[in-house]
Amino acid sequence: MDLTPLTSQPLGDWEFVWRQRQFFVEGTRIAVELTFYSILLGFILGLPAGVVEAYGGKYSRGVVRPVGVAIRGTPILVIIAITYFAFGVSPAFLAATLALGVRSAAYQSQIFRGAIESVEGGQMEAARAVGLSKVGAIRHVILPQALRRSVPGFQNEFTIVLKDTSIAYAIGVTELLKRSYDLFSLQTSAALEVFLAASLIYFVLTFSVNRGIEALNDRVAIPGGNY
């Protein structure tokens, strides 16, 4: 996007933000994509990790648990830097997605583990008593209930991942925060307006997603039940 014409004439700060709306929209799109792919990757890795933590044997658990602890104990900026600079994952968008996704997996695994462990022990017993294998019982009886119970946990997870996409700024991904920073450098007087606009966008996104998750929670609720 060509910014030069805008710098040639002095503009009101809100007007400046408004004129750059397309620039914000593009950054928002990148933030949303980062969030989507990171949560998706987190789900793909985090669900099996949660199942292993809840039902795994000594060895599988012995691997999954420490890895989760290590990832959760590492700042996201460090994970992103390692992915991009040390492992050389490129382009930056891919590196950011991997880093955010793996970190999200480490947290999602705990959402799933907690939800699985909250399903009453009698459910597994009854499933086994009918003749289902352990895997069959997990798939047809435990997970359908545990996944419903994990929905509220995603309100936090979405909010955290969405806001943390801003850290992709550190490796040059032109998401919302990076773009706000660029705009602020063009018109330093508009610092408040630019960053307020960015926060407003983050807020609208998190708010809508949270509302969406609440609606999803109602939709999947078991009739007559608490979950």
Binding site: E120, G122, Q123, E125, A126, A127, R128, A129, V130, G131, L132, S133, G136, H140, V141, P144, Q145, R148, I222, P223, G224, G225, N226, Y227
Partner: protein, 248 residues
């Protein structure tokens, strides 16, 4: 080899240091209805759970149709032995009908249509045709337990295990569950029942087995055990149970 349907042979079981079953032996022929009674902690529920391998034994053997259940695939065994739980344990996310069809589809490999037909018939047999599409949380305890019975029966088991099927129910709901069990006994189902319902034992049982401290101390037809028990302890216990739970 024996011709009994079930042969429980000198079964020992313990949880860590605590011995739960100490050499239990009994046999069941096809169509027998045996009621296990005894004080709490005597090992009744553990005995049931050993028979479908929800609990492992330390020593002894259990044979179904002459074959050791430990030589069988455990899922294969469980297909042949139905279990009804004290707390119902219905699959909370599935309707009454789906609770019954799950095993038919996923364990017996039946198609959707055949499974639904069989499940609907089975629910009707326990008087729950109207509730087929209700979820467990929408049903009363008595209805839930009848779904639990239908779920087990649909697998066409050779033997049904009942683990205190009415203990979690409000008194006014016990009758409907016992009624279903009585009908089942009359139809010739082989049943092993842990219960305190002495009325049911008197009416439906071929034998009553009295367990105490992990040992089978006395067994016999209900009349004999209720009227002429060999041991005073048995008389005391059954007498107390009858005054508490004998009305049904």
């Amino acid at each position: 080899m024996t011709d009994e349907l079930l042969d429980v042979d000198d079964v020992h079981q313990s949880y860590g240091e605590e011995k739960v079953l100490e050499g239990i032996s009994f046999e069941m022929d096809s169509q027998d209805v045996k009621v296990l009674v005894g004080p709490s902690g005597s090992g009744k529920s553990t005995m049931l759970r050993c028979i479908n391998r929800l609990t492992d034994i330390d020593d002894g053997d259990i044979r179904l149709d002459g074959e050791s259940i430990y030589a069988m695939d455990e899922n294969d065994l469980r297909r042949q032995v139905g279990m009804v739980f004290q707390d119902f344990n219905l699959f909370a996310h599935l309707s009454a009908l789906e609770n019954v069809t799950l095993g038919l589809k996923r364990v017996r490999g039946m198609g959707e249509k055949a499974a639904v037909e069989k499940a609907a018939w089975q629910l009707e047999a326990v008087g729950l045709r109207e509730q087929a599409n209700s979820y467990p949380a929408e049903l009363s305890g008595g209805q839930q337990q009848r779904v639990g019975i239908a779920r087990a029966l649909a697998m066409d088991p050779k033997l049904m295990l009942f683990d205190e099927p009415t203990s979690a129910l409000d008194p006014e709901l016990i009758g409907e569950v016992l009624e279903v069990m009585r009908e089942l006994a009359e139809e010739g189902m082989t049943m092993l029942v842990v219960t305190h319902e002495m009325g049911f034992a008197r009416q439906a049982a071929t034998d009553v087995l009295f367990l105490e401290d992990g040992k089978l101390v006395e067994q016999g037809p209900p009349n004999q055990l209720f009227e002429n028990p060999e041991r005073d302890r048995t008389r005391d216990f059954l007498g107390r149970l009858t005054s508490l739970h004998g009305s049904q």
